[in-house]
C-alpha cells in the first residue's frame, strides 16, 4: 500500500530530528500532533510553470518590485525643475483623473471637486477639491505627481512619472485641472462623501447554503473527496475516520513552519503534500479538490480561535520576514500591504467605493466565496490578486514569501474566530 510505504520512508528518515523539532517548536496544545504527518516534500505544490489566472490582467510588471524581487527604478534624487509654466489642458486632466484604466485613477484615493461626477471617490489621500487655492506652484504639483518621494519618502502616492504610468504632458494636464479646483466637492448625497459614507458590514449568513454556494463544497464535495481512494487504494478516511471530531481546532493553528521543507505551510499546501504522500492524489493548490478540502478543514474548526505558533525560533524569524514583506513597496503602483491595510495609512479608508480593512479581520473567513467571481478563493489566491491589482507580479500559490505573509497575517488575527467559508462580493 503506497500509504504505508510513504509513511515509513519519511518517518524513518528523520525520526529523532522530527521528534526534537516538534518539541522545540512548542506547537499550541490543541494542534500538537502525535507524529509528524507524512508530506510529499519533492516538487512544487501548485501547477508549474506558474501562469496568471485566465481573465486576470496580463500586463507585464516584471520591471517593478514583487514580493520576491527588488527591481523597481529608484526615486529621483531631487525634484525636477519647472521654470516655464505648464500649459496643460484641464479638460484632458479631468478625464485622466477619473480614468480607471490608468492605474486605478486619482479619484480612487482623492476627492477632487466635480471629477468623476463626485461619485464614490476615495479618501486614502487628502481631499484635493481646494488645491487650486492652496498656494502650490506648478513645480510642486508636477513633482508630487511625478514622484512624491522627493518631498515625502514615506508617501503612499504612486510614482506616476518615475514608473512611466503618466507622461510629462499628461501630468501637465492633471496639474492644469488641479489648479481649477477651488471649491469643496459637490456631493450629490452623503453616500458620495467618503468622510460620511456608511461603513459596509457583511450581513449575509455565510454558513447558509441558500446564501453561500461555498457551503455546498463542505456539505457534499469535501466529504465525497474524503472517501475517494487514490491510485493505491487509500483515502483520507483510511486514517481519519472521524474528521469532525479530530480536526475541531487543527486549522486554527495553521499556517505553521514545516522543517522538512524549510517554509511555512498553509492548509492548502499541507493538503496538497499530505494527500500526495498518503493517498497518491494529485490535489494541487488552487485545484477544485484542494479548495474544497481546505475549506472543509477550516470549516471543521469553525468557532476555534486563530492561534498560530509565535514562540519558536522559526516562527519568530518567519514573522519578521512576513512583516518586512508587508511593508515592501511593490508593483508599478508602488504599494505595500501596509499602505492599504495598516491603521496609520490606508486602513479604515475608501478606495473608490471599497472599504479597506485592517489586517485584523482579514483571515477568519478564508477560504471565501466571491460572488463577483462565482468561485471560492483561498488566502493565497487573495494575495495573488492583491498583487495583480496593484500592477505587481504575483507569485505561485506555494511561494515561501506567501507562507511568511500568511503567518504574519495569522499572528495579527490571533484570537479571531474562524467562520469558514466566508462570503464576500
Amino acid at each position: 500500500m503506497i500509504f504505508a510505504r510513504s509513511w515509513i520512508v519519511i518517518g524513518a528518515a528523520i525520526p529523532l530530528l522530527a521528534a526534537s523539532v516538534l518539541i522545540s517548536i512548542g506547537l499550541a496544545p490543541a494542534a500538537t500532533p502525535e507524529r509528524a504527518a507524512p508530506l510529499a516534500t519533492d516538487g512544487p505544490a501548485a501547477a508549474r510553470p506558474w501562469i496568471r489566472y485566465g481573465g486576470w490582467p496580463n500586463r507585464d510588471t516584471s520591471k517593478f518590485n514583487s514580493l520576491s524581487t527588488m527591481v523597481s527604478p529608484p526615486p529621483p534624487k531631487a525634484p525636477r525643475t519647472i521654470t516655464t509654466p505648464l500649459a496643460g489642458d484641464p479638460i484632458a486632466g479631468q478625464k485622466l483623473v477619473a480614468d480607471r484604466t490608468r492605474g486605478g485613477s486619482c479619484i480612487a484615493c482623492h476627492v477632487m471637486g466635480p471629477a468623476g461626477g463626485a461619485d464614490l471617490p476615495g479618501n486614502v489621500g487628502p481631499d484635493l477639491s481646494e488645491i487650486g487655492t492652496a498656494g502650490r506652484d506648478d513645480e510642486w504639483l508636477f513633482n508630487y505627481i511625478y514622484d512624491a518621494r522627493v518631498y515625502n519618502p514615506a508617501t503612499v502616492m504612486p510614482p506616476w512619472g518615475t514608473h512611466g504610468l503618466l507622461s510629462d504632458s499628461e501630468i501637465g494636464d492633471i496639474v492644469a485641472f488641479l489648479k481649477t479646483l477651488t471649491r469643496p466637492a459637490p456631493f450629490k448625497s452623503e453616500l458620495d462623501d467618503p468622510s460620511r459614507r456608511p461603513i459596509p458590514r457583511e450581513q449575509r449568513d455565510n454558513l447558509d447554503p441558500m446564501i453561500n454556494p461555498a457551503v455546498w463544497a463542505v456539505e457534499e464535495r469535501a466529504p465525497a473527496l474524503w472517501k475517494s481512494p487514490g491510485p493505491g487504494g487509500a483515502a483520507c478516511v483510511s486514517c481519519h475516520a472521524a474528521p469532525e471530531q479530530a480536526f475541531k481546532t487543527w486549522a486554527a493553528a495553521m499556517p505553521r513552519w514545516e522543517p522538512r521543507l524549510g517554509k511555512v505551510l498553509g492548509v492548502e499546501e499541507f493538503v496538497a503534500r499530505h494527500a500526495k504522500a498518503t493517498t497518491g492524489h494529485d490535489w494541487l493548490m488552487e485545484s477544485e479538490e484542494n479548495i474544497a478540502l481546505s475549506t472543509y478543514l477550516r470549516y471543521l474548526a469553525n468557532g476555534a480561535l486563530i492561534n498560530v505558533d509565535g514562540e519558536s525560533a522559526p516562527a519568530k524569524a518567519t514573522y519578521e520576514r512576513g512583516e518586512a514583506l508587508s511593508t515592501r513597496k511593490i508593483g508599478a503602483l508602488n504599494f505595500s500591504c501596509a499602505d492599504c491595510h495598516s491603521g496609520d495609512k490606508g486602513a479604515q479608508k475608501w478606495i473608490r467605493g471599497q472599504w479597506l480593512g485592517e489586517l485584523r479581520g482579514q483571515l477568519d473567513h478564508f477560504p471565501t466565496w466571491r460572488t463577483s467571481q462565482q468561485s471560492i478563493w483561498d488566502i493565497r489566491k487573495r494575495f495573488q490578486w492583491c498583487q495583480v491589482a496593484i500592477w505587481a507580479d504575483d507569485l505561485p500559490p506555494d511561494a515561501s514569501e506567501y507562507g511568511d505573509l500568511e503567518l504574519y497575517l495569522a499572528a495579527q488575527n490571533a484570537g479571531q474566530k474562524l467562520s469558514v467559508p466566508g462570503i464576500r462580493h
Binding site: 485566465g54 481573465g55 441558500m210 446564501i211 454556494p213 455546498w216 457534499e220 460572488t371 462565482q374
Partner: protein, 96 residues
C-alpha cells in the same frame, strides 16, 4: 455544484397561515455578454421561468431575465389553507 434545487418550507404550518418559501437552484445564468479565455462570447443560457404551484393551482411565478444573479434564489409567500403538495419548476433556455 449540485443540480438538486434546494427548498426551504417551514416544518409546521397551521391552516390559513401565510408562510415563506425559499428556493435555490445552482445555475450559472450566463447572460451572453461574458467572454471565455480565448475571447469568444459565451452564449446566453439562463433559467427563464420559475413556477410554484400548490395542489395543482399556480401560486407564484417569475419570468427571469439575464439580470438575475447566478444560482437563482427566491423567497416568496404562500397562504396555506389545506394540506397538499407543492410543485416547483425551473425552465432553462434549452427547454429542460
Amino acid at each position: 455544484m449540485t443540480n438538486k434545487p434546494r427548498i426551504k418550507v417551514p416544518d409546521q404550518i397551521r391552516k390559513g397561515e401565510i408562510i415563506q418559501i425559499k428556493t435555490l437552484v445552482a445555475h450559472d445564468m450566463e447572460n451572453g455578454l461574458r467572454r471565455d479565455q480565448a475571447g469568444k462570447v459565451i452564449p446566453r443560457k439562463i433559467i427563464n421561468r420559475f413556477t410554484c404551484s400548490f395542489n395543482g393551482k399556480p401560486v407564484f411565478a417569475c419570468d427571469l431575465e439575464p439580470a438575475l444573479a447566478a444560482n437563482p434564489y427566491f423567497v416568496f409567500s404562500v397562504r396555506v389553507d389545506e394540506s397538499g403538495l407543492f410543485n416547483f419548476t425551473w425552465t432553462d433556455d434549452d427547454g429542460t
